[in-house]
Symmetry: C3
Subunit: 201 residues, 3 copies
């Protein structure tokens, strides 16, 4: 693993992580729709998409980077739709649906914390702002999901939801300030956020 990457490679890696987070949240949102609200296929895919895309859209609105990346890069929409459809198809066979919902949520949380913070830095945000925007990106989609199915959002009801997201974002921002935008830091930040989140479930 190289300590630094060329800009092109870094942005490819960032895109892969962002799409992975999008996919994880799409599965999570769709399974939540199946489990918590017993929605039909349109509702399941819609909630998957909102969960997957909500955090990034909120981030881009707050950064003034409009239209949001979701609307200028169709891969996000494709991945989110695919995730929703796959989750709908699998939901009948999935024995451990509750565990899956939790794991996909923590994966999305960790990945979006680091990609959200990195995008904020790219667009010129300061260190503190980038940590905060990473956290908002990570918790935004899940908060929309919970409001739409009428649950108290995890960001309020769970001690370890906003905190691991901010920790994951902090890793990327500190690494950036130390001069490194290596993907290793993004992976470390996402893994940290994921682990802390899972410990708190």
């Amino acid at each position: 693993m190289t300590p630094t990457l060329t800009p092109g490679a870094a942005s490819t890696a960032a895109l892969v992580l962002d799409l992975a987070g999008t996919f994880a949240f799409a599965l999570n949102g769709a399974l939540t729709a199946v489990r918590a609200a017993r929605l039909d296929i349109v509702g399941v895919v819609t909630l998957g998409m909102i969960t997957a895309l909500g955090g990034g859209i909120l981030r881009d609105i707050l950064l003034g980077a409009l239209p949001p990346a979701t609307f200028s890069d169709w891969r996000y929409l494709l991945v989110a739709t695919a995730g929703g459809l796959i989750a709908f198809a699998l939901s009948r066979q999935l024995d451990r649906i509750t565990l899956s919902i939790t794991v996909f949520d923590a994966l999305g949380l960790g990945l979006f914390a680091v990609t959200g913070a990195a995008r904020a830095l790219d667009l010129g945000a300061g260190a503190g702002q980038a940590v905060l925007l990473g956290g908002i990106t990570a918790v935004g989609g899940g908060t929309l999901r919970d409001v739409l199915v009428r649950r108290i959002p995890s960001v309020l009801s769970s001690e370890l939801y906003a905190v691991p997201a901010l920790l994951g974002a902090l890793v990327v921002v500190v690494a950036d300030r130390l001069g490194s935008t290596a993907v290793a830091w993004s992976l470390a930040g996402a893994a940290l956020a994921f682990t802390v989140r899972m410990l708190g479930v």
Copy 2:
């Protein structure tokens, strides 16, 4: 009916359709406030205005067209306020209030799907983006309405809410790509969305 219109005429027609959609959603939101939440006149008019203006504001935020049209063209605010007040006044005499709520919702959905898509195209969005933004414009106000009165939003609970909106938007976008911005296509798209929505109620 001419196959093409001058830009001025097209934009006048678009404005009329947009204001008609605003009026329909204002009636719908205000009647929902009377029926579902038993609110007083301020609450009724406020929910009517949020339902009427929410979708267009969300569209303009996502397009980066800020401030939203609602804040730069007072006709939207006037029409929304008038719709809310009229619905409040009529609600005591309206026998078929539940049917009215459904019809006004479907009317607003169809009209906003086509005007939202057209506005996205005007502001330079691609075809796929315009279909999506038309759908978001159409379902946005009703989703805010449902969240505020604590119902599972129609966009999640009904198979035929997002789908007819996307279909209506698709008509306008396909016509545009074929070189026609005639009002007839907007009317056809709105009518298609309205009909599909009413079939699904």
Copy 3:
């Protein structure tokens, strides 16, 4: 008190009023989290921050002034966090917690009505728009708060929530149109909104 102020003094006064409103809403949101939803410390501080910062963020999004002031001036975040922590610490000793929630909400409502309207005028909004944006700034944070803890928002359920906010904003806008941006008018508008709100509780 002088009838007019230098721009620097006026903007310092506006900042002080805005931070005072932020603090009041942070206390209100955090106490609501303790009382209504029995959240832990992370949830309490988070709801305090959302209540405190939500209205201003919504205002800046609608004005296209992105990133929002909250993300470019750290004093807002500090004051909001401090308010949430203080409310959490005090909530065990506070006998009259329900009254406190009401008073802090009315204080934030009045202060944000006038500072929101003034910021809209600063950014070139027309008179009517500024009144409306003052009202939205004032009711925005509390509406987010109520949605997140699953209550019908005050802006819908109470006759005197949007109305006093619009009245407070109107005072500032009329004064501005008459040529005065004196802080006295902001204080008068905030006091009017606060008083009318408290009469309606």
